[in-house]
């Protein structure tokens, strides 16, 4: 089962991506438990926000697929070369006053998903998230 969403990122981009996730999760024949479903929603929200802020993409293709007990969520965008995996991850040990704001979203995606891969192909950033049910 596969679903896709192809849109130009605008101010409502994160909302549209999460709405797309909701419809995929509701429509999935494989029942996705609430905890896993929410991990996917969080990851999708983070990736969408980052794409909007940093990629300069004019078009993003989101693809959702279930293969057995694996959920695959893929984001392909036509923005500048941007590999979220190579960005520095936020320091989680500093005090409130010193805590840097950035990087938390990517940290969450890395820790909530079972696997995450980036590739650059044919002028596109392709980020593939995988969650094992």
């Amino acid at each position: 089962m596969q679903s896709e969403l192809r849109i130009s990122p605008d101010a409502d981009f994160a909302q549209k991506v999460v709405d797309f996730m909701d419809s995929c999760l509701i429509g999935s024949e494989t029942v996705v438990p609430a905890r896993q479903a929410n991990r996917l929603r969080i990851a999708a929200d983070e990736v969408a926000s980052n794409l909007l802020a940093y990629s300069g993409a004019t078009e993003v293709l989101c693809q959702f697929a279930v293969h057995g007990s694996e959920i695959i969520l893929k984001f392909s965008d036509d923005g500048v070369v941007y590999n979220p995996l190579s960005q520095s991850v936020s320091d989680t040990t500093s005090s409130v006053e010193d805590r840097p704001i950035g990087g938390l979203g990517l940290l969450l995606v890395k820790r909530l998903m079972s696997d995450i891969r980036y590739e650059r192909s044919a002028g596109k950033n392709i980020l593939t998230l995988q969650l094992h049910l």
Binding site: A14, N38, D45, V96, R99, L104, G105, L107, L108, L112
Partner: protein
């Protein structure tokens, strides 16, 4: 996300329902900005919150910093497993008071 606010002298309780993410975090930020004056104690009831993303964390961090600077108190109650997992991963369990 719906935000219900209850006041007593110097204290504010916000009851949240829905999701605290990129789309809804600005709403919480605005509610806090409009209601901060004279508040020394703030409580967030998370019973109705399904999950939080980093946008929500930023609003909470900002609120915590503000309460710290004002020598006030801030706490979160009724946090579910998914939200707690996010707090654990990001180290926010050390920053926030979660009951």
């Amino acid at each position: 996300m719906t935000i219900t606010m209850n006041y007593a002298t110097g204290s504010l309780m916000l009851t949240l329902t829905g999701r605290l993410d990129t789309t809804t975090a600005p709403q919480l930020e605005k509610a806090l900005q409009e209601n901060w004056d004279g508040i020394r104690s703030v409580t967030f009831d998370f019973a109705g919150i399904e999950y939080i993303s980093s946008a929500g964390l930023r609003v909470l961090l900002s609120a915590q910093k503000r309460m710290n600077a004002a020598a006030g108190t801030m706490k979160l109650i009724h946090v579910n497993e998914t939200v707690m997992e996010v707090f654990d991963i990001t180290g926010f369990t050390d920053i926030l008071t979660i009951e």
